[in-house]
Amino acid sequence: MREFTVLVVDDEQEFREITVKRLEKRGLKAKGAESGEKALEVLEHGHIDVVLLDVKMPGIDGIETLRRIRGLKPLVEVVLLTGHASVDSGIEGMKLGAFDYLMKPIELDPLMEKLADAYEKKRLHQEKIEQAQLKRHMAMPG
């Protein structure tokens, strides 16, 4: 599996920590952020491939954070994860371009799978863009 970077955004510290630990043990790079604001900050300054985003958080919630991530880093894929019943917010999230909507409790294997899929999508996307840029580059007379 390719190595990629995951940002875990959740206001619950224990969850953040264990998820980061386990992802790292599986060979990924992982960071934690306790709020939407913090996540945006991390995204701006560091390299992040996939965001695992809790929907219900104090401060700006998951949906709003998602919207801002879209504006800030359109290529970053976002997987929503919640313990909540809000089917509506799930639909809302999908409309805003989230990669998927997951429900707690979830085990690590399916979570990893989703994250990997999300990364794969991001990678393909990025590749396409790079190729397009390359083509344009090559087409330009030296």
Binding site: R22, K25, H84, A85, K104, P105
Partner: protein, 549 residues
């Protein structure tokens, strides 16, 4: 309690209607009857007045006729002529053709009888009348009419006496009362009416039909002198009195009101009959009307109670739903931590030296158990939160009959094993509706499965679709099982409520069905059939967006 309540209302309504009818009718009867009676009595009094006036004239005329006759005779013949017996005899025969004069006396001014013709010659001849009251009367006033008396002959008669203008003699005639009486008897009113004459002392001058010989105290009280006709109304009679013959005699005419009011009573009875019969008819209408109103009231009350019950149920379900969602959410986070931590252990375990960790297999097993039970709990919370349902935001036109048919095809085999038959009663003109087919199918599947589980061997499930009010679809799932206990009817849609054996059902099927139908804008209700078994009724709106089909 309920029955009593309605019975009371019914009684009050009928009572009020009856009062409304009977009171005016009774008043009408009383007023009409009394005014009719008054009118009848007035009429009676008028005719009584006319009669007595007429009789007065007849009596006066009769007396005057006699008096005039005598006056004429004394004017025509001097005392010398009439004083002779032979002349008087001839005169008597001449004037007494009618036979009303019994005898004639000729008396000179000294009271000595000069001549007499009549049946009592022996006993009267030679009598001197000078001291008699009537003789004095005649000598002063010129004429006299006596009261009736029996006289020597024990026959009622009265006397008319007239003096000649020079008062040299008196001619006196005894008049047979019989003729006089006849005049009065013919003037009676009714079978028990009376008509007679009394003198000032109240002695009867003519016989009464009722056999009266003397006036009673009540009638005597009427013997006050009065001008014209006096009318006294008593309880049962009306008495008219009139003074005649220079106020010496009083003419009495009595009529019994009851008897005379015969025609009035007949009219009154007719009126009462008509009124009573119309009252009875009205009463019948009142009862029918009250019944009708009561039926309306009862059905309105029932509808309102049903509606209230539905509202309560909906509110309860909303509260319960929120509660369940909240709890599920609160449980999901700890579940996540449990599974994460357990997963973490399982990931770290392989790093340990198996020689140092004696029970490594037990740990692995325990971790697997923990994860299994978290999955189990998670499955429940996910179902409860509706998250495991497919999110299909897209609604499409669904033909409910087709959807039912498809659903039945899933369960028909199982139904066959259980020897349960499914009877379809589809409305052919069922319109399509915009709805979420897969979710609706889940509800149908739930209900049919429940029914099959409930009835067991040999049961029948009736599935009926109907169209209601043009914009509603009704789907009914009826089984012929044992039905639902009344105390469970209210809780049957509650989450985690189940009557199945522990472990056989989560108690979420009907809750989820309820939730789905509610989200689709419909209602679901349950009731027991009268014939046994339960019936679930789903009502869905017909939603028709632009181009249907």
């Amino acid at each position: 309690m309920e029955m009593n309540h309605y019975k009371r209302i019914w009684l009050r309504m009928t009572g009020a209607f009856c009062l409304l009818i009977t009171v005016p009718v009774a008043v009408l009867v009383l007023v009409t009857s009394s005014s009719l009676k008054d009118a009848a009595i007035d009429k009676l009094q008028v005719s009584l007045g006319r009669l007595i006036e007429h009789k007065k004239d007849v009596v006066a005329l009769f007396l005057k006729e006699k008096e005039d006759l005598l006056t004429m005779l004394v004017g025509m013949y001097p005392i010398d002529f009439l004083g002779r017996q032979a002349n008087l005899d001839r005169l008597f025969i001449a004037v007494n053709k009618a036979g009303s004069i019994v005898d004639l006396h000729v008396i000179d001014s000294s009271g000595k009888q000069l001549a007499y013709v009549g049946p009592y010659a022996q006993s009267i001849t030679g009598k001197n009348y000078y001291d008699s009251q009537w003789f004095q009367d005649v000598m002063i006033k010129g004429s006299h009419v006596s009261d009736v008396f029996l006289g020597f002959r024990n026959v009622p008669h009265f006397v008319v006496a007239v003096a000649d203008p020079l008062k040299t003699y008196v001619l006196r005639a005894t008049i047979n009362s019989e003729q006089f009486n006849k005049l009065l008897l013919s003037s009676q009113i009714g079978w028990n009416g009376e008509s007679f004459i009394v003198n000032r002392e109240g002695t009867l001058q003519t016989p009464s039909r009722g056999g009266l010989t003397e006036l009673d105290a009540e009638d005597k009280a009427l013997l006050e002198y009065h001008e014209g006709t006096a009318m006294v109304r008593r309880e049962e009679t009306i008495v008219a009195t009139r003074w005649v013959k220079d106020s010496q005699w009083c003419l009495f005419v009595k009529a019994e009101t009851e008897e005379s009011l015969g025609p009035f009573y007949k009219v009154r009875n007719d009126i009462i009959l008509v009124i009573v019969s119309t009252s009875i008819v009205f009463f019948g209408f009142a009862v029918l009307f009250a019944n009708y109103l009561l039926r309306r009231l009862e059905s309105e009350d029932r509808k309102r109670a049903e509606l209230g019950h539905q509202m309560v149920q909906m509110e309860k379900m909303a509260t319960v739903g929120r509660l369940a969602a909240g709890i599920a959410h609160e449980i999901n986070n700890p579940l996540q931590m449990i599974t994460s931590q357990a997963g973490w252990i399982s990931e770290l375990l392989p790093d340990e030296d198996p020689a140092l960790v004696k029970n490594i297999d037990e740990y692995k097993k325990a971790i697997e158990q923990i994860r299994h039970h978290v999955r189990r709990a998670g499955a429940i919370t996910h179902r409860l939160l509706g998250f495991s349902r497919k999110i299909s935001a897209e609604k499409q036109n669904v033909q409910i009959n087709d959807l039912l048919e498809e659903t039945i095809s899933f369960v028909e085999k199982e139904a066959g094993y259980n020897n349960v038959s499914i009877v379809r009663k589809y409305a052919e003109d069922l319109p399509v509706t915009m709805t979420d087919g897969p979710q609706l199918q889940q509800v149908f599947l739930n209900l049919i499965n429940n029914a099959i589980d409930e009835i067991g061997q040999g049961g029948v499930v009736d599935i009926t679709t109907t169209r209601e009010d043009n914009n509603k679809l009704v789907v009914e799932f009826a089984d012929n099982g044992h039905g639902i206990k009344p105390e469970n009817l209210k809780r049957i849609f509650d989450p985690f409520f189940t009557t199945k054996e522990p472990g056989k059902g989560t108690g979420l099927g009907l809750y989820i069905s309820y939730d789905i139908i509610k989200k689709l804008g419909g209602t679901i209700a349950v009731a027991n059939r009268k014939s046994g078994g339960a019936v679930f009724t789903i009502v869905l709106p017909v939603i028709n967006l632009g181009a249907s089909r």
